[in-house]
Structure formats: C-alpha cells, structure tokens
C-alpha cells in the first residue's frame, strides 16, 4: 500500500511539472488559437539560463528568479518578432514557424551547453524538517510551488486590470480594441507569462530528469496530453489534466505489464482518445463551429 501512495505522490509531483507546461500551452492557445510546439524547448532553454547563473555562483533561488524574469522578456520578444508575422497566416505556416523555433532553441542550446546531461540542484533544501517515507522534499516542494503558481495566475487573471484586459483580448479582440486595449501587446504579454510559467516547469523537472537539451520533448507531450484531457478551453482544467496524467503515468508504469516502457505511447493514446471521444476535455466547454 505504501508503494501505491509513493507512486501517486510522485505522480502528483511530476504531474505538477506537466501542469505548469500545460498551463503555458493553454494560455497561448486561449489567446491565439495556436499550439506552441516550441514550449518545451523554451522551458529547456530557460532552465539552461538558470544553470548558467548557477555556474557563476548564484544561489539556486536567485538563478531561478533571474531565469524566469529573462524568459518572460524573451517570450514577449519572440511573440512580437517571430510569431506576429504569421498571426493571420494559414495554420501550416504557423506550425512551421513553431517547428523552426523549436529547432533553433534545441540546437543553440546543444551548441552552447552540449548534449551531455548535467545535474541540476533542487530549489528545495533536503533537510527542511519535513520527513516522510512516502514523498521526498523535492517532490513536495514541486507540488507546493506549482499550487502557488496556479493560485497566482488565477488571482492575476481574475482580479487585476491587466488580467481582465488579457481575457477580453482573447475572448473578443475587436471589442477589446474598442475599449482601448492594445490586443497586440496583450498577446505578447500572454507569451511572456507562458514563457515564465514554462520556465518554472523546466526548473522544477531538471533535478528529476537531469538537464540536457532533449529534456523537455517527452514532458511537452505529457503536457499536451494533460491539457487536452483537462480541456484546452480552461487553464485550470488543463493544469488538473497535467496532474492526472502524472499520476496515471506512474500507475500505468507500475501496474500495466510493459507499461513502464511505453509511457510515451500511453500519452499518445490519451491524446488520440480524448480528441476522438471528448475533444473538450473533462473540464472544458464544447465550442460549436458554425458552417
């Protein structure tokens, strides 16, 4: 029974990482109707930035905050410079731009930092007076920090002027302009926030899977699966979906024969099944397309 709880809690921890990345993906999707296929590589790059700060002697938390702040700015810039030209282009063109971005980030990271794996320290000290057989300090920290981030994002969107403006810009860009909101900047801001949240995900997962340029491609797939499962029309649904996928992944890995080697296939299966049978996801809203 202990094993079950350990697995489940570990699943919640890795699921928290998926939740962060899923949240980032859905924030961009809600604002722009794009799936950011480069979200994983952006998060990976941010984590490497944190790593660089570490090699200059910065303490872990400072390195993390610095990396997150830089990621926010980078996300803003990427949206304005790289994505804006294809804002209204055919879907294929947009997908290709994301793939191009993915390639650039992956290979520049490999060029700067090499493809050898590196250890990355946890944000959470190993001895903060909390002991449990069921879950380690890093995992507890991951779950806790993710919940705080989710809460912060919720408060931001719900209670701030800019959060309201961003929601308005995503829901009805024309009307948003008519109340003086600069929709273009709201998009850029959305990308910045998504980049920051994604960075947090990367920094949280690196101590678990070790840091290398290919660290995030599997994570991104799980995050997509989680976002779809929870519902891409609902940021919190998507985050819940991420948590569920994390737990399911561990259960399947342990209790389904051969499951541990087919985790990615499992994610793919979830994606296909959700899209076929409940495209709005568990918590999402169905959008009817008019002919």
């Amino acid at each position: 029974m202990d094993l079950f709880f350990q697995l489940t809690l570990a699943g919640l921890a890795i699921g928290s990482v998926y939740a962060c990345v899923a949240l980032a993906v859905v924030m961009i999707y809600q604002a722009t109707d794009h799936f950011n296929f480069a979200q994983g590589e952006m998060a990976m790059f941010s984590t490497f930035i944190a790593f660089t700060f570490l090699t200059f002697g910065a303490p872990v938390w400072l390195a993390a905050v610095g990396a997150i702040a830089l990621s926010f700015i980078a996300g803003l810039i990427i949206e304005r410079v790289v994505i804006k030209p294809v804002e209204n282009a055919p879907v294929l063109n947009q997908i290709i731009v994301f793939i191009g971005l993915l390639m650039i980030l992956n290979n520049v990271a490999g060029w700067i930092w090499e493809f050898t794996i590196k250890p990355f320290p946890s944000l959470f000290p190993a001895d903060w007076g909390f002991h449990s057989d069921l879950i380690g300090p890093h995992h507890i920290g991951v779950i806790g920090l993710t919940l705080i981030v989710l809460l912060a994002i919720y408060l931001f969107f719900r209670f701030t002027r800019v959060g309201l403006a961003m929601r308005a810009a995503a829901a009805n860009p024309d009307s948003a302009r008519l109340v003086g909101v600069s929709v273009s900047w709201m998009l850029a801001l959305g990308w910045g926030l998504a980049a920051g949240v994604g960075a947090i995900g990367g920094i949280l997962v690196a101590p678990i899977v070790y840091l290398d340029p290919n660290m995030m491609s599997g994570v991104l797939l799980y995050a997509f699966a989680g976002a779809l499962l929870g519902g891409v029309s609902s940021p919190f649904g998507a985050a819940m979906g991420g948590l569920i996928i994390g737990v399911l992944e561990n259960w399947v890995g342990q209790y389904v024969p051969g499951g541990s080697e087919l985790k990615l296939t499992f994610a793919l299966a979830i994606i296909v099944i959700v899209l076929l049978f409940k495209p709005a996801g568990i918590f999402g809203r169905v959008v009817v397309k008019r002919v």
Binding site: R161, R167, A171, D174, S175, V179, V183
Partner: protein, 236 residues
Amino acid sequence: MAFLEVKGLKAYYRQVEALHGISFELEEGGITTILGANGAGKTTTLRAICRMVRTEGEIRFDGKDLTGMATENVVRLGIAHIPEGRGTFVRQSVEENLQLGGYTRKNKREIAEDIERVYDYFPRLRERQKQQAGTLSGGEQQMLAIGRALMLRPRLMLLDEPSFGLAPLIIQEIYQIMRRIREAEGTSMLLVEQNANIALNLADHAYLLETGDVVMSGESHIIRDDENVRKSYLGY
C-alpha cells in the same frame, strides 16, 4: 471646423470598394444619423472612423487626423464605438464589462463613480451586476453596450443600429436614455440606423446612404416632415 469631419472617404474590404468617397460632418454636442438599407455602407462608415477597415480620404476628429492611428488610440481620443451586435464580452460579468469600458482611465474612484452612474441610467444592469453578460436579454445587452461606452466619458459616441432586434418598448426606453445622456453629458453622437423614424426623432441632422454614396442630407425635422422625401427615400 466641425467636431467630426469626413471628406471623400473611401473604404475597402479586400479589393471591393464599399464607400465611394462620402463626406459628412458633425457639430460638437450634436446628434447626426446615417440612414440606409442593408449593405448601404453605414456600418462600414463607423468602422472606418475607428480604423477597422482600409480607407482613403480624410477623417478629422476635433482637428486631429485619424487616418494613421490604431483603433485603440482612436478610442483614447474619446471616441466610443458601440458596434453592430453590441460587442459584449459574453463570458465576463456585467460589472467586468463596465470595468473594461473604463480600461483607459486611471482614477479608480472616478471609475467606480461612473459605474454607479451607469447603473443609475440602467437600473436593470445593477440587478444583474455579477451575471455573465451573455445571459442578458438583447435589450439589456444593448444597455450594457451603451453603459460600457459611457465608461470612457466619451466626447463622441458611434452607435451602430442600437434598435436592432429589440422590442418597440425597449427601443423607446433606450432612445429616451440616449436623449438624457445627450442633455446631461453633452456627448456628440453619430447614430447609424435602419429604423429611420426613430432615428429622425432623436437626431439633428441626417444623411442617407445608398450603396456607398450619400444621396441626401439635411436637418432631420425637414426630412421627417417632407412626405415625398419620406416615401421615395425612406419608404414610409
């Protein structure tokens, strides 16, 4: 120089020319109505002023040339556009819609006061403060749209078919409130309508558009009282 001056305005949707070089003006504090059938170009005219379509020609508001500006900056000059279909933020609450109307303003106290003023004009909205705007009736959404426009403390309001799809009693109510607003706030209004009768009762001046051209203009009481003009141009 008039408060709003439009000269030789052409507007395009892709390659199609929807307005063929129209001219009109509006005095400060006045209400002007643009009438015409479906497809005449009335909505296009309002969208042109707000820079939502490609245009040629001159548009001047209080002396300022609008043609190079982005929509959100035109709005900041004090022009509130209530679009066709109301443009409500359907998933946000009534209160949030009004807050969005005040987005460009900084003074929180004044914004709160203005929200109260809107509720004074439209008590029904106060009842439905926290309700999702999409669940309001057509008339209530129109009130909300006007309320949202008022939050800007606009100098000019552009109204696109406020009577559309509404029951006659509600239309009366709304038009009475618009009259009150003009009297209390001195807001100028450019009113686009298909319902000529009710528009002519409110407006000072009228322009009649037919497939992208102005075919007639004049003081509205003259147009309204001239039976021949009414019968041949306005159909009643």
